[in-house]
């Protein structure tokens, strides 16, 4: 289609296009495609937001303006508990994954060790395999590990919110490591040598030289981890225990049951939260 629109639009493009190299792509066709794409991306979200204020229990019918669904949402203890769980899981997994992921990234960039290549591939795996595969792997792992531990120690470990957090840490480490590593690509290691020549010990070198320089990358990775954790349905669904629903699990079960506008209200809240997160991450990048 890209080639088609370009060639088809070509004869109608202005003759002056030859002089300016950035012209001559069939601007009209590109503009139409771009408008189509942005409408495609945003109209569904806008509809969702509009209908969250609709006074009708049918998802696609406008029944007058109301705030009722938001009131119902904030009065619904199940949804509010799930929201709290989600924030807890996202915060905990973000903190742990950011620390470990950053250390992994630093280690990978600084040291050349045997098996580094294999470790590299292994590190990338959670990023590239579908979440459902990751989910079933972790489910089997937890159930087997708990069976073994419970048989040996007589303990009673089982799936809970903690296993969800552990699962989220597992995939988030990979994402944080990838983001931090990409920010380390342009890092001038001679700065560390310079600091040490000037008498800084290893800790002070890290504290005052390395860390401030890679901080934007770390924050980027942390925000990504937080978002991914909030976003995840599949892995949480497989690794959660009784009473440990996260918000996406709760929303999914409500969607499958029936499409009540409460979901529109929850979705709108989630969308606004994502908007806030992406704005923060963009502002932080701009400051750098």
């Amino acid at each position: 289609m890209a080639e088609e629109t370009l060639t088809r639009a070509a004869p109608t493009a202005p003759a002056a296009a030859r002089d300016t190299p950035r012209r001559g792509f069939g601007e009209g066709a590109l503009l139409v495609n771009a408008i189509f794409c942005y409408l495609f991306l945003y109209v569904p979200i806008l509809i969702l937001i509009v209908f969250s204020f609709s006074n009708s229990s049918l998802a696609g019918v406008w029944g007058g303006f109301t705030f009722d669904w938001y009131v119902k949402l904030f009065q619904n203890t199940r949804l509010m508990t799930a929201m709290g769980n989600s924030l807890y899981v996202a915060t905990a997994s973000m903190i742990v994954a950011t620390v470990i992921g950053t250390l992994v990234a630093l280690g990978m960039e600084r040291f050349r060790f045997r098996g580094r290549q294999a470790f590299d591939v292994q590190l990338y795996m959670p990023v590239v395999i579908p979440d459902i595969v990751m989910a079933v792997m972790l489910l089997l792992f937890f159930s087997n590990a708990f069976q073994l531990l419970n048989a040996l120690l007589g303990s009673s470990f089982r799936l809970s919110l903690t296993t969800v957090i552990m699962a989220h840490i597992t995939f988030n480490i990979a994402f944080v490591a990838v983001v931090v590593r990409s920010s380390l690509k342009g890092f001038d290691w001679r700065l560390e040598e310079a600091a040490q020549d000037l008498g800084a010990n290893e800790f002070n070198t890290f504290r005052h030289v390395t860390f401030p320089l890679i901080l934007p990358g770390i924050i980027g990775g942390a925000l990504m981890a937080f978002t991914l954790s909030l976003d995840d349905y599949v892995i949480s669904y497989f690794t959660n225990g009784p009473g440990a629903s996260t918000l996406p699990i709760e929303v999914f079960s409500r969607i499958v049951a029936a499409s009540a506008p409460t979901i529109n209200a929850v979705s709108t809240v989630i969308f606004l939260a994502s908007l806030l997160l992406v704005s923060v991450s963009q502002l932080l990048q701009r400051r750098r």
């Binding site: 289609m1 890209a2 080639e3 370009l6 060639t7 030859r18 950035r22 001559g24 601007e27 590109l30 495609n33 771009a34 794409c37 942005y38 495609f40 991306l41 945003y42 569904p44 979200i45 509809i47 969702l48 209908f51 049918l58 998802a59 696609g60 019918v61 470790f119 591939v121 795996m125 590239v128 395999i129 579908p130 459902i132 595969v133 079933v136 792997m137 089997l140 792992f141 552990m166 597992t170 990838v178 990409s182 909030l230 976003d231 349905y233 599949v234 497989f238 996406p248 999914f252 969607i255 499958v256 979901i263 529109n264 979705s267 989630i270 969308f271 994502s274 997160l277 992406v278 963009q282």
Partner: protein, 260 residues
């Protein structure tokens, strides 16, 4: 790392074990799971459908995404950052929420049907069709295609087109022989980023496909859930990983380190 390697080893063991009558696992070495996967026409069709949907989604995303990325690059710098920001928002927005939005549009009481019903037309069943699943997949993955292509076009030296023009290349030749090969790494990176989550997608077929258009993701969920056949599910998961690892190796080959 333990949390990745150990589960990986466990799933390999499971893949070569058999299901006990009670739904548990018997650890006796067998290739039966793989034989079942490759001989049962239902499972084979799920596999092929996943790959086929993945390919179609990737191609559609590339065909829509490339001109979009090009359009963004051609805009003045001020506009460019706003347009990219608008691509980033869906990228960061909850996938479930975005797919749910389409349910309210395509559903039997959805916006499309209530609109055409207003004009006296019969409602059309859209949820539960392959078209709906495909639409959801393209919608969900489009930003993952646009961003890497944008990065590669942004690095592209447009003076090369001028040079090609001076050498007498036609508009078509300039694009296909000069620009496309030089921005191909972006398309390849985008394709990997789109294809993998698409082929393994669970949410879109479950919600927009209404359980009628099953992909590998739904098959895995079923085997580990209601069907209680973890060995068969493990074998399928292992196969998916093998196929996708090949894809990742391809990704590493075609992109240099800085582009990832």
């Amino acid at each position: 790392m333990i949390f990745f390697l150990l589960p990986f080893l466990i799933i390999i063991v499971y893949a070569f074990s058999s299901r006990s009558p009670t739904g548990g696992v018997e650890f006796t070495f067998t290739l039966n799971n793989f034989i079942t996967l490759f001989s049962d026409p239902v499972y084979l069709s799920i596999f092929w459908r996943s790959i086929w949907m993945g390919v179609v989604t990737t191609v559609l995303c590339a065909l829509i995404g490339y001109p979009l990325a090009l359009f963004i690059v051609l805009q003045p710098v001020r506009w460019r950052s706003i347009l990219i920001f608008l691509i980033l928002i869906p990228f960061w927005t909850n996938f479930l929420v975005r797919i749910y939005a389409w349910m309210t549009i395509l559903g039997n009481n959805g916006i499309v049907n209530s609109t055409i019903g207003f004009f006296g037309f019969e409602p059309v069943t859209m949820l539960g069709t392959q078209g709906a699943v495909l639409l959801g997949l393209v919608y969900g993955e489009l930003p993952f295609m646009v961003l890497p292509i944008y990065a590669s076009i942004d690095r592209f030296d447009f003076r090369l087109l001028e040079a090609a023009n001076d050498l007498g290349a036609s508009r078509w030749q300039r694009f296909v022989r000069v620009m496309l090969p030089l921005t191909a790494p972006g398309i390849a990176a985008g394709s990997v980023l789109v294809f993998i989550p698409t082929a393994g997608n669970y949410i879109v077929p479950a919600l927009l496909g209404g359980g009628k258009v099953a992909l590998i993701g739904n098959f895995l969920e079923q085997q580990f859930g209601s069907a209680q056949n973890q060995p068969l599910g493990s074998a399928a998961a292992l196969l998916v990983m093998l196929v996708l690892t090949a894809g990742v190796v391809f990704y590493f080959r075609v992109t240099d380190e800085g582009e990832r």
